[in-house]
């Protein structure tokens, strides 16, 4: 029985306090007197949200800033004003002010000046900021700030206890989602209605959001959002199940046949599973991610599919989905190196000409002996009968 009781609040508060402490140590090292962690309301699982990472507050409005002075208490400025009750209930930064979205920069400038903070050495981390915001800091602060992106990302890419707890909970929800699919997915259902029911099932387990892609075909070209398609016997259902808990997304990639898989489908899925396991063995601390990509691609190329190991037949061999850092990206070109404690999805998902696109991916934790799956059972080519 999976434990779905609320995650311990004390772990949350101690981890968030430790994040502020670590940020301050890095600010001291880099010579910053103030760090502003900004968040847009455009939540993304391929973009960091520094404000959420430092406050625990998932914003609705278009702007949130967490200001962390080196020596004074941090404060949070959020939008819109009517959402302040939710911010007070969830933010671990307790000094909270609200502003109307249109008045965000003037309100921030006012808050900073009222507190007489040193604005001479400011860094801003904001992930993917809208252009008006990216270009507005200099006016609001009196001078162009330094980039604080790496400062946050370097701290966040190694998961702290709270991040890991949320990640493990999200994995548990995703696995229950897989079980639900096995019990409920049947030929005759419409794709979008199956996705709706699965999505809501995982919400009931505590997934606040979900990057849920699911589609079917007898010869898939890729996975995509659901259509009206009536699922038929022989279709292969591709699922990218990606629930989030407290902003930490995890992803499980699965393939299943409505009916009995063919020998060819089993053979090609086994090839991708072999590639995944090769990648996991290679993924030790200190290993460049390019070596992991090579390990994944090697068995696929050896089977005669080398030309299919690049886009448009696949996208990437894996990626982080963490709140505070997008490292690592498992591609030949990211330049990242693995470190113990990193978490990401590793997925040799790709198109093969004989069977179509197949998905095979696990959330993994980097340990001294390689990548350990966070799932209790690694995926197999499923069969929904």
């Amino acid at each position: 029985m999976t434990d779905m009781s609320p995650l311990p609040e004390t772990l949350r508060t101690t981890s968030y306090k430790a994040r502020i402490d670590r940020v301050r140590a890095a600010m001291r090292r880099d010579g910053h007197t103030l760090l502003i962690a900004y968040g847009t309301g455009q939540h993304s699982f391929v973009g960091m949200n520094p404000a959420w990472y430092l406050s625990g507050f998932r914003q609705m409005g278009p702007h949130v800033a967490v200001a962390v002075p080196l020596d004074d208490e941090p404060f949070l400025l959020m939008t819109p004003a009517w959402d302040i009750d939710r911010a007070r209930a969830r933010s671990t930064v307790t000094d909270i002010e609200a502003a109307d979205p249109a008045a965000f920069f003037p309100a921030l400038a006012d808050s900073l000046h009222r507190r007489r903070l040193d604005l001479n050495h400011v860094a801003v981390a904001g992930g993917r900021m809208p252009r008006a915001i990216a270009e507005g800091w200099a006016d609001a602060l009196g001078a162009a700030p330094s980039s604080g992106e790496a400062l946050i990302s370097d701290l966040a890419r190694i998961r702290d206890p709270w991040s890991l707890a949320c990640t493990r909970r999200a994995v548990a929800i995703a696995e229950k989602g897989c079980d639900w699919l096995e019990q409920n997915a049947r030929a005759g259902a419409r794709e979008h209605q199956l996705v709706a029911a699965l999505d809501v099932y995982m919400r009931g387990l505590g997934a606040e959001d979900n990057f849920l892609l699911m589609s079917s075909s007898q010869h898939n070209r890729s996975v995509h959002q659901p259509t009206r398609r009536l699922i038929a016997e022989g279709d292969v259902l591709l699922s990218e199940i990606t629930p989030a808990v407290e902003g930490e997304y995890i992803q499980i990639c699965r393939s299943a046949v409505f009916g009995k898989p063919t020998a060819l489908q089993l053979e090609k899925f086994a090839l991708l599973d072999e590639a995944l396991r090769a990648g996991m063995r290679t993924a030790t601390p200190g290993t460049p991610v390019s070596a992991v990509v090579e390990a994944i691609n090697a068995p696929i190329a050896a089977a005669g599919y080398g030309e299919y190991t690049v886009p448009p037949y696949m996208r990437t061999r894996g990626h982080s989905m963490a709140l505070g850092s997008m490292d690592p990206e498992i591609s030949m070109f990211s330049g990242h190196t693995l470190e113990e404690g990193m978490v990401f999805v590793m997925h040799p998902n790709q198109y093969l000409p004989d069977t179509g696109y197949l998905m095979c991916g696990e959330p993994v934790l980097i340990t001294p002996s390689g990548a350990e799956p966070l799932t209790s059972t690694m995926g197999v080519l499923g069969s929904y009968i």
Binding site: S44, A196, A197, E208, S222, R228, P312, R315
Partner: protein, 367 residues
């Protein structure tokens, strides 16, 4: 109304050919091309930032997508998509376009390749959405376009789109039908003993089941203010206040738990705005008509949550219904009008999807 943006529009993603046949988009392109020829440009480029599909591109492509669309003054547009091309097969099924390719990392260069196919190389171009690109993307785009003269077409495009086409109105009515069904499902669940959070989740499930591409939901989950779903909760707070925003085929509509109210200050405020929504009226006039119907505390709350705005391919479009606004209402625009009174004896949320006409607003009926 500001709501929680999800990580992905993950609902029904399928072109509705009955609602949007090929000729609808051919006509949109034809009408725009006539304006472009009047302007003396070789074509129009419409940009949506990576990972942020928007209504501008969607209006021409037929589906909300991120990318760049190039519409020459004659012939079919070309859509350049972000990404490596893996998604093109599926994306082609969502649009009416035959000219689509992946721009990927080389988007500006790919665009220039398209421009160079025209005899004059498109020396003079109208643009929409350049201002929404991130700074590095904008820089790359300007560099790639070189010495071409760029004419800002944002305002003219917005005016062109402000008056909704008949099939756009049908799409909003379909979204409204889904939103109303979702709210009814949430209310029914609450009546049977569900918590406010469970009622909100039930509403979402019904919306997605019935064809919502995207969903926004707010309810009084903890008592006095509206909030989105974040985690399961057992608390019951009566009356249930539930607001639903639904996107069908890219078009938005909203509904709320008080839409059936015929009495009370919120219903009166919305009715006053509907009556005042005549072509040429100031947006500020609607706001003032609403505020005149509300007692002071309700006035403050309704202003905080917002009295409404334009609606269509974007959940929130101009004009904004705010006191003092001098924006005028174009005939044929769709407005989403609302009054939120989150607490007290008269607690409710009332909304009305309204078309602006010369005789005042006409409430849309769900489809």
């Amino acid at each position: 109304m500001i709501t929680m943006t999800p990580v992905l529009a993950r609902g029904l993603t399928d072109r509705d050919h009955e609602l949007f046949p090929q000729d609808e988009f051919e006509e949109r392109a034809r009408l725009l091309q006539a304006e472009l020829r009047d302007l003396g440009v070789s074509g129009l480029i419409v940009c949506a930032p990576a990972w942020q599909p928007n209504g501008e591109v969607g209006f021409l492509s037929g589906w909300p997508m991120s990318g760049i669309i190039f519409l020459p003054t004659s012939g079919e547009p070309t859509l350049l998509t972000y990404g490596s091309g893996r998604e093109l097969y599926f994306q082609r099924q969502l649009t009416w376009l035959t000219h689509m390719r992946s721009g990927g990392e080389r988007m500006p260069a790919r665009l220039v390749e398209e421009l160079d196919k025209l005899p004059d190389g498109c020396a003079r171009l109208a643009t929409v959405g350049l201002g929404g690109l991130a700074a590095p993307a904008l820089r790359q785009m300007r560099d790639a376009l070189g010495s071409r003269e760029l004419i800002d077409f944002d305002a003219r495009f917005a005016a062109f789109r402000a008056r909704k086409r008949p099939r756009e109105i049908l799409a909003v009515r379909r979204a409204l039908g889904i939103a109303r069904g979702a709210v009814a499902a949430g209310r029914a669940a609450f009546a049977k003993g569900a918590s406010n959070t469970e009622a909100l989740v039930e509403a979402e499930q019904v919306a997605r089941r019935d064809g919502a591409r995207d969903w926004r939901g707010l309810a009084n989950l903890t008592g006095s203010s509206l909030a989105p779903f974040e985690r399961p909760a057992a608390g019951r707070h009566a009356p249930l206040l539930l607001w639903a925003g639904v996107d069908y085929h890219g078009y938005w509509a909203e509904a709320a738990s008080g839409d059936t109210d015929i009495e009370g200050p919120a219903a009166a405020a919305v009715a006053a705005m509907v009556a005042a929504a005549r072509a040429g009226a100031r947006a500020g006039d609607l706001a003032e008509a609403a505020l005149a119907q509300l007692p002071p505390p309700a006035r403050t709350a309704s202003l905080a949550y917002g009295l409404g705005c334009g609606c269509g391919l974007l959940r929130e479009e101009t004009p904004w219904i705010e006191p003092g606004s001098d924006e005028t209402l174009p005939e044929g625009a769709i407005l989403t009008l609302r009054s939120v009174v989150p607490s007290g004896e008269a607690a409710t949320i009332v909304t009305a999807m309204t078309v602006v006409t010369s005789a005042g607003g006409t409430r849309l009926e769900p489809l």
